[in-house]
Amino acid sequence: MENYRIIRTIIALFVGIIVALSVIQESIVPAILAIVIGAMISYIYKKKTNETLEDERIVKISEKASRIAMVLFSISIAIIGLVFITLRNEYPDFTQAGFTLSYSAVALLALYYIFYGYYNKKYGY
């Protein structure tokens, strides 16, 4: 588990640096390549290793954390988006940010209901 954590940190650092550099250089290809390579290395290591990468307690904590984070995040972005859109006459520059946040909230809810339906089918009805 410790090795996996170290490898994951190194991959995240590598991807972060490459993405930052590609954004500075205004070129999209290195960023996409870095993300794909990072995901591939992580996936291959997960498949090959015999270490216990996650125990039940960590999975449970992660799921509970995701749920509360998702609830807080969706409420926050919906309200912030709404405030930005409402202030369109005073601060027209932020209207685009408001719409982006609102669409993100809609996407979040849509995704959530899709997965809810999927897991609902998987675990019962």
């Binding site: 205004e26 995701s66 984070a69 685009q96 996407a107 979040l108 897991y119 675990y123």
Partner: protein
Amino acid sequence: MERSGLIMKILSVFESGLFIKILSVFISGLWIAGLLLANIYIIIIAIVLLIALSSVLYIHRDNLEELFQGNSNIIVEDERTQLINEKAATMTLGILIAVAIYIGIIIIALRNNYPQFLLAGYTLLLAALFCFILYFASRAYYSRKY
């Protein structure tokens, strides 16, 4: 004594299911009105009312079914729905953060071709960062709890 009884009766109206339902509809109306009229004060009133409503619901979180008696649509969570909720939230959050970061990076990298979308790119990256912070804060909380 009689007076305090009357006050308690009046206060209990604010905790009744019907009042809460009416208040929810009213708050939704305020959101829409504020948005259409571009008036931030209406939105602030809606937020204040929402906080008040959330506190009442939080106080009565254990007997929400009683509070909304007669409404068969109220879902009382059991272990199965809790499991489904948690799994769905994990997947949703993971995918949303990844997609937000990817789209944000793409938009920022293409800033010379599409400069009009630059703010959307930064907004997506900031939203993903905010979501990460929320996730790690709640993860730290639950790690300590369990």
